[in-house]
């Protein structure tokens, strides 16, 4: 080991920030600027591996910068769940950073320097969220993440982009300020602490009558989890360049949302407290509704990115559902699903962007017959879709299986039925683009231009989807450590 866990912690959080700060200075040479992202990604990922390793061995890497309020420190401390999210965000950043270079260049996008800088700031915020030492620090970087991604959403500077940016900002900031912040402060006032303790800190301090309301303030305050009716920002954010949709709106931002809720459920409320008080029963139904309703909407979408966005909304609610079921197995399933869905969905988005850069197609109906021209990316799409649907041998089958077992543990038969229906719908709307591309006659002649940097990252993540089926042990191990403490 060449890094102590604390050094690794700081490296993981601040390497992306260093990349962001260096980007404007490296911009004198486009190549220098564009290797900074992937290099930073590798460094961050190695740091995240070290941290995760230490957590698996029973350690808790932590570091404190300052005291922000009596007893509340501005610092970082890695939980088992945090280790998982840190791995996902940093690992996928490596590939997304490479992909992003290919996409932005292939597409001749403007303002690439600004884009690269804010992209790295967003990753920094995501890492800080993952490893935050308490709920207040988590909230702080949650807000930073919202603001740092605004320039990425509004990147095109068109009216549509600016309107989407406003909607994005108003929903995310509005919910977090009006609901999430008071919820955090309420916990602080009532319990006098905000740190993440396995088993939770609310038992005995907050009465069971208040608990469902408090949980509601968290669930709807975290707009990034996109529980209906607060999901509108996510489809709107698809106006951003695809690397943003891929890393941020399939991985970092939305996962930060469900991660926050899972942290709150596991380390603030405590799974047992939720189960005993029944505080989360309403949330089970709210997420089941979101899962089915957004799948229905996804089917109607012809725009590939819009369909993927609604699929994301549905999958995010799987994670929240896992927390709401409030059994150990379901919570583990939720944690594992964060990883599995991230890898699967980033693959799908990479492919959507690759198709756009290479063939300038955005509509599913125009994909007919294009498959043979772009075999590699459609193969990647196929595997990614498999993982999201939950069919072996793709990683996603583990998390879906664990969620189902968890629901069965809790005796929630309806949830099993909802998950089943949702899988069927997934099969339809995710495999449909691939089927059309290979089995339907061509409707449109397009000129394909080959951009390798947009092709190999989705292939890599597709391989990762399969690998995660066979080597899920460390992830599952961390998830178990999360509930056992």
């Amino acid at each position: 080991m060449f890094m102590s866990p604390e050094t690794a912690l700081l490296t993981g959080i601040f390497a992306p920030l260093v990349v962001a700060l260096l980007t404007p200075f490296l911009a004198v040479r486009n190549n220098w600027r564009d290797v900074a992202g992937p290099i930073g990604g590798v460094i961050t990922f190695i740091a995240a591996l070290h941290v995760a390793n230490d957590v698996l061995a029973g350690g808790t890497p932590s570091w404190t910068a300052a005291e922000i309020a009596p007893g509340i420190e501005l610092g970082f401390s890695v939980t088992a769940l945090g280790a998982i999210f840190g791995l996902v965000a940093s690992g996928l950043w490596v590939l997304a950073a490479i992909y992003s270079v290919g996409y932005m260049r292939g597409n001749h996008e403007k303002h690439q320097t600004r884009f690269a800088a804010f992209y790295a700031v967003a990753v920094h915020a995501a890492m800080a969220i993952a490893w935050s030492g308490n709920l207040l620090v988590l909230f702080i970087f949650y807000e930073i993440l919202t603001f740092s991604t605004f320039p990425l959403v509004a990147h095109k500077e068109s009216k549509a982009a600016r309107d989407a940016g406003r909607l994005y900002l108003s929903i995310l900031v509005g919910t977090s300020v009006v609901l999430l912040l008071p919820a955090v402060i309420y916990v602080w006032v009532m319990t006098g602490r905000l740190d993440f303790i396995p088993g939770g800190i609310l038992a005995g301090t907050i009465s069971p009558e208040v608990a469902p309301w408090l949980l509601a303030a968290f669930a709807f305050g975290v707009g990034k989890a996109a529980i209906m009716p607060l999901h509108r920002w996510l489809p709107a954010a698809m106006v951003a360049p695809t690397p943003v949709s891929a890393l941020l709106h399939a991985v970092a931002v939305v996962k930060a949302g469900v991660f926050t809720l899972l942290m709150v459920a596991v380390y603030i409320f405590g799974i047992d407290y939720l189960a005993d008080t029944g505080a989360s029963v309403w949330l089970v139904w709210a997420t089941c509704f979101t899962i089915l309703a957004s799948s229905c909407v996804a089917i109607t979408k012809d725009d590939l990115k819009a369909r993927l966005a609604y699929s994301t909304i549905s999958q995010l609610s799987y994670v929240v559902l896992g927390a709401a079921i409030a059994t150990k197995m379901a919570a583990e399933g939720a944690a594992v699903h964060i990883v599995m869905h991230a890898v699967g969905k980033i693959t799908l988005f990479f492919v959507a962007g690759a198709i756009y850069v290479q063939a300038h197609i955005t509509k599913i109906s125009q994909l007919d017959g294009q498959g043979p021209e772009m075999k590699l990316v459609f193969a990647a799409f196929f595997i990614g879709a498999f993982s999201i649907i939950g069919i072996p041998p793709a990683g996603g089958s583990w998390s879906k299986f664990m969620l189902m077992v968890g629901a069965a543990d809790a005796g929630m038969v309806m949830v099993l039925i909802v998950l089943g229906i949702s899988s069927l719908m997934n099969i339809y709307y995710l495999l449909d683009p691939v089927a059309r591309a290979f089995f339907k006659p061509k409707v449109k002649e397009v000129k394909i231009t080959w951009h390798p940097l947009t092709v190999w990252p989705p292939v890599a993540t597709a391989v990762l989807c399969i690998a995660l089926f066979f080597f899920a042990d460390p992830i599952v191990g961390l998830a178990q450590a999360m509930v056992t403490g």
Binding site: E67, A69, I140, S170, G174, L181, P182
Partner: protein, 500 residues
């Protein structure tokens, strides 16, 4: 004079140094030299305030007898955790605004008036400091007038670029005079039944007075008068025009410190002078201050959302922010009062910084800074704009900025007192404030329809350094807020300690 003598006289120096240097500045016809006098005056006050803050940190408070006449006959300056903190915030901000004034003030006024302008500048900053330090209810009125009249002169100087400054100054003169008169009428009532003007004496004797009605009437007049000075809704009407049409440097100084002094006096009247009659003050807090504060928060925020002139927009935002401070005092718990002091400090560095940035824009554009005029300035004046942005994000309470700490402690105090409805209103208004800030942010990076408007001169450190001092203060107090929070807690404990 020996060092010990200086230290012993610190409470007086905070006020007297600027006041004594004011006539000196008035005699100097050269703008640069008069500015040096102003820097010495405000700098001296800042050093004294800093040393005073050091002296009270240990929990001591002391009183200073002007001319060695003991109270209640002589005039007493009271130095405690609350007054020392307020004076330090004000001295720091007026010093930073003075630094900015060197380039900004002569550019906006008639060159020949510079000496007199700096004279009024020193009178205003000394007078406002006196307001905070004095322990005598009538002497407070004197300082109220000194600071008001000198502020009016400063506002009227804006007529050099926009004649509407005269109307704004006139309005302030009339409304301010009404406020001051109300205050002094109230003091008269109270004096009639207590026979003293010393605040500490008043606090002791008021509970013993049998004629409740006189106390209530006197209290009502005093509070109403101070509310005018503090620009609490609905008696804020003088403020938007005054801040909008004053010269940039003056807007920055007044926005940062003028209403803060009045808010401090409000706290002092409510929590020490009338501490002995809690049923009277509770009535005013619950039924007057809190509702007015909330109304002011929403009025200011909504007007700001629809305003296109940036200085006016910031002034409306100030009305809302004053509402937050008044509301925090209205909670009346020690956590609430501490939140109020925290926001007095934070809002001073936020709004001071934003007005300094707008001053920078004004000097580059040489025209009123409207939203459309700002199109694309982010690209062309990046240093000023980044500073503006930091202060702006602090205004809407983005975490890791000072504004977030204010919001955190205000919401915490509200939750601790179970004022959930009020808390929801506060948070909704806070979310709304993003709307007006974002309107500006978007336009700063938009491309203009036609050609860029020509700018007069590049960004110079003389204009952006003061702004950046405040921007960095916003970041610093956002990450490590402990010094301000501790001082505010001590101030609150000191004030509420008067009740129990």
């Amino acid at each position: 004079m020996s060092l010990a003598a200086i230290i012993a006289n610190l409470p007086a120096l905070v006020v007297v140094v600027p006041l004594l240097l004011a006539p000196v500045a008035a005699l100097i016809p050269v703008s640069g030299a008069a500015w040096v006098i102003a820097v010495i005056g405000t700098g001296g006050a800042l050093i004294s305030a800093w040393l005073l803050q050091g002296a009270v940190t240990g929990g001591v408070s002391f009183s200073y007898h002007l001319g060695s006449w003991p109270p209640p006959w002589g005039i007493e300056f009271v130095v405690d955790a609350a007054s020392a903190l307020t004076v330090l915030i004000m001295a720091a901000l007026s010093f930073v605004a003075t630094l900015f004034a060197r380039r900004a003030l002569p550019a906006e006024i008639n060159e020949r008036d510079a000496g007199k302008a700096y004279s009024a500048w020193l009178l205003a900053s000394g007078g406002l400091a006196g307001l905070v330090m004095t322990g005598d209810a009538f002497n407070l009125f004197v300082f109220l007038e000194i600071s008001a009249l000198s502020s009016i002169i400063l506002i009227a100087l804006g007529a050099g670029t926009d004649r509407r400054a005269l109307v704004a100054a006139y309005n302030y003169l009339i409304i301010g005079a009404v406020g001051a008169t109300f205050y002094v009428i109230g003091v008269g009532f109270i004096y009639a039944v207590t026979g003293t003007l010393n605040m500490a004496d008043l606090a002791e004797r008021i509970p013993q007075v049998q004629q409740d009605t006189v106390i209530i009437v006197g209290f009502g007049f005093m509070v109403a008068g101070i509310l005018v000075k503090a620009a609490v809704f609905p008696v804020h009407i003088w403020l938007p025009a005054a801040y909008a049409f004053a010269p940039s440097a003056v807007s920055a100084m007044l926005a940062a410190i003028a209403t803060k002094a009045a808010l401090y006096i409000l706290a002092r009247i409510l929590f020490t002078v009338f501490a002995g009659v809690p049923d009277v003050t509770a009535l005013a807090l619950e039924w007057v201050l809190v509702p007015l504060a909330i109304a002011g928060i929403f009025t200011g925020t909504i007007l700001a959302i629809y305003e296109n002139d940036i200085k006016k927009l910031l002034a409306f935002s100030s009305v809302a922010q004053i509402g937050y401070i008044a509301l925090a005092f209205g909670i009346a718990s020690s956590a609430g009062i501490a939140a109020g002091f925290i926001h007095i400090g934070n809002h001073a560095i936020i709004k001071g910084g934003m007005f300094l940035a707008v001053g920078g824009y004004f000097l580059a554009l040489r025209s009123r800074v409207s939203l459309s005029a700002m199109t694309g300035l982010g690209r062309r004046m990046p240093i000023t704009t980044t500073g503006f942005l930091i202060c702006g994000l602090s205004l809407i309470g983005l975490p890791l900025t000072a504004g977030f700490i204010s919001k955190l402690y205000l919401v915490r105090a509200l939750i601790a007192e179970d004022m959930i409805l009020v808390m929801i209103l506060v948070l909704v208004s806070s979310a709304l404030s993003v709307a007006y800030l974002w309107k500006i942010v978007e336009i700063l990076w938009q491309r203009p329809e036609g050609d860029d408007v020509p700018l007069h001169g590049d960004e110079t450190p003389a204009l952006y350094l003061p702004l950046w001092i405040l921007a960095i203060a916003n970041l610093w107090l956002g990450v490590a807020p402990a010094p301000l929070v501790d001082a505010a807690n001590r101030a609150a404990m000191h004030l509420v300690g008067g009740i129990s």
